[in-house]
């Protein structure tokens, strides 16, 4: 499930964490929040960021020689 979790601390600090996205989709999906709230001061990409959206490809075994 795709989620964006936003923690807003009592001292006004905002931390955004995206979950369930692969690749750059997380950055695009959460960009509107950054634009709404102010300036980004820190960003850390997690391993899932580097996972690209895989396309299913069919492989055929040539049975006829």
């Amino acid at each position: 499930m795709k989620e964006i979790s936003i923690d807003i601390s009592d001292d006004g600090e905002v931390r955004i964490e995206t979950k369930g996205f692969k690749g750059k989709a997380c950055l695009l999906e959460s960009k509107f929040l950054k634009d709404l709230l102010g300036k980004q001061t820190f960003q850390e990409l997690t391993p899932a960021y580097y996972v690209t959206q895989k396309q299913d490809t069919k492989k055929y075994l040539n049975l006829c020689g």
């Binding site: 807003i8 692969k22 509107f32 709404l36 709230l37």
Partner: protein, 137 residues
Amino acid sequence: MSHISKIEIEIQSIEDLKQACNELGLEFREGQKDYKWYGTQRESVSGNDNQTDLGKCDHAIKVPGAKYEIGIVKKGKHYELLWDNYYTGGLEEKVGKNAGFLKQAYSIQRIKREARIKGYRVVQKKVTNGIRLVLSF
């Protein structure tokens, strides 16, 4: 997970700031051009205003029970909150350090409004040291 970001809040929406004031029981005073402060010392959240701006603002926030007020000053496309945090003024006690409670309430309003427009489901919960909003499809 995909990525983690930290954001420094900029007040961009007066409507959401008004709503945040309502949530906290503060009085938004639209068009009030000065705010109460000590008079010789003051704190700016951003800390870079010049002396000619002291005590002047575009709008103000009256905090019940506090002697001083919060000034709202337009700076380009966003607004800055200006206030004197000296303890006798009573503001920090009500709105938190660096106006943290006010920024928190503003952020919640801002996110909820836009997230719902975009069709997200929004769940709010209390967590240690703050509030968590979870947006899902």
